[in-house]
């Protein structure tokens, strides 16, 4: 089963503008709805409080793993709405990536969240990918794979 989520949007704003919205911690907080304690920096923990209406004061915790100006910002976090004991130190984490590409005068932005199951690529069985083919066929494929 694929454990990666990917969404792509085309934005009219140029990459410099989108990059600032993603990488500047004040601006990121404005649209993402989080109040961050410090700028994003690789190797520095990112902490703060959620400001999303209804979830104010839930803690934000992330570990920045990559900052490639105008191209990619990546951090690890505990997905969903973690319980207080579910921190980066104790819980499964996913990798969030913001990927920017120029498109015309605007920006193609992809957000990707991955790694939840931490499946090594060579162990993933393509037949288990949940798609429109239906569960029965997938199981048939898996059975053929493991029996072969």
């Amino acid at each position: 089963m694929s454990d990666t989520i990917e969404r792509t949007v085309t934005l009219a704003a140029p990459p410099e503008r989108v990059w600032r919205a993603v990488s500047d911690h004040h601006e990121f907080g404005q649209w993402f709805r989080v109040a961050l304690d410090q700028p994003f920096a690789v190797g520095t923990p990112s902490t703060g409080r959620v400001t999303y209406p209804g979830f104010e004061h839930l803690p934000w915790e992330a570990e920045v793993v990559a900052i490639e100006p105008l191209r990619r910002l990546a951090f690890r976090w505990v997905p969903g709405i973690p319980e207080p004991h579910e921190t980066l130190a104790t819980s499964p984490s996913t990798l969030v990536e913001f990927l920017l590409e120029p498109e015309g005068g605007g920006t193609r932005l992809t957000v990707r969240e991955s790694g939840f199951g931490k499946l090594p690529p060579d162990k993933r069985i393509e037949a288990m990918r949940m798609n429109s083919q239906g569960w029965d066929e997938q199981i048939g494929n898996v059975r053929a794979h493991v029996d072969g």
Binding site: M1, S2, D3, I5, R7, V9, L11, A12, A13, R17, V18, A21, V22, E27, Q30, W31, F32, R33, Y52, G54, F55, V78, P79, G80, I81, P82, E83, E86, S91, P92, L109, V111, E113, F116, G117, K118, L119, K123, R124, I125, M128, M130, W135, D136, I139, V142, R143, V146
Partner: protein, 116 residues
């Protein structure tokens, strides 16, 4: 109920989803799930006969699958038999869909922010 609220109401949703992903990510367990997909409740002995690992290993793997909510155990006489719980797989897919919907919402907010 909003996407965010739906994810919040399930206690330790992350651990549950992680358990399911981890359970499905192991070849022997995947084979057991495939074997059980026929719908029948099967004993450890029957399942072990179809896999290249020991009965103890199969029992251990079934325990992992049961913890993850992907199979359930029932007693038939003295014997434990295992049955697939398709809802566990559906729940995993649903978790991914909910997380994806959160990103859709976030991107809408970003677009609105950039327009200001």
């Amino acid at each position: 109920m909003s996407t965010v609220e739906a994810m919040r109401t399930k206690a330790s949703a992350i651990d549950d989803a992680a358990r399911r992903f981890a359970a499905l990510g192991e070849p022997v367990r995947l084979a057991l799930v495939a074997r059980l997909a026929g719908g029948a409740a099967l004993s450890i002995a029957t399942l072990a006969a179809a896999t290249p690992v020991t009965r103890q290993a199969v029992a251990r793997h079934l325990g992992v699958l049961e913890q993850a909510g992907l199979v359930s155990a029932e007693r038939v006489g003295r014997e434990a038999r295992y049955r697939l719980q398709p809802a566990g797989l559906a729940a995993t897919r649903e978790w991914l869909d909910q997380a994806a919907a959160q990103w859709d919402d976030a991107l809408v907010r970003l677009a609105a922010h950039l327009d200001e």
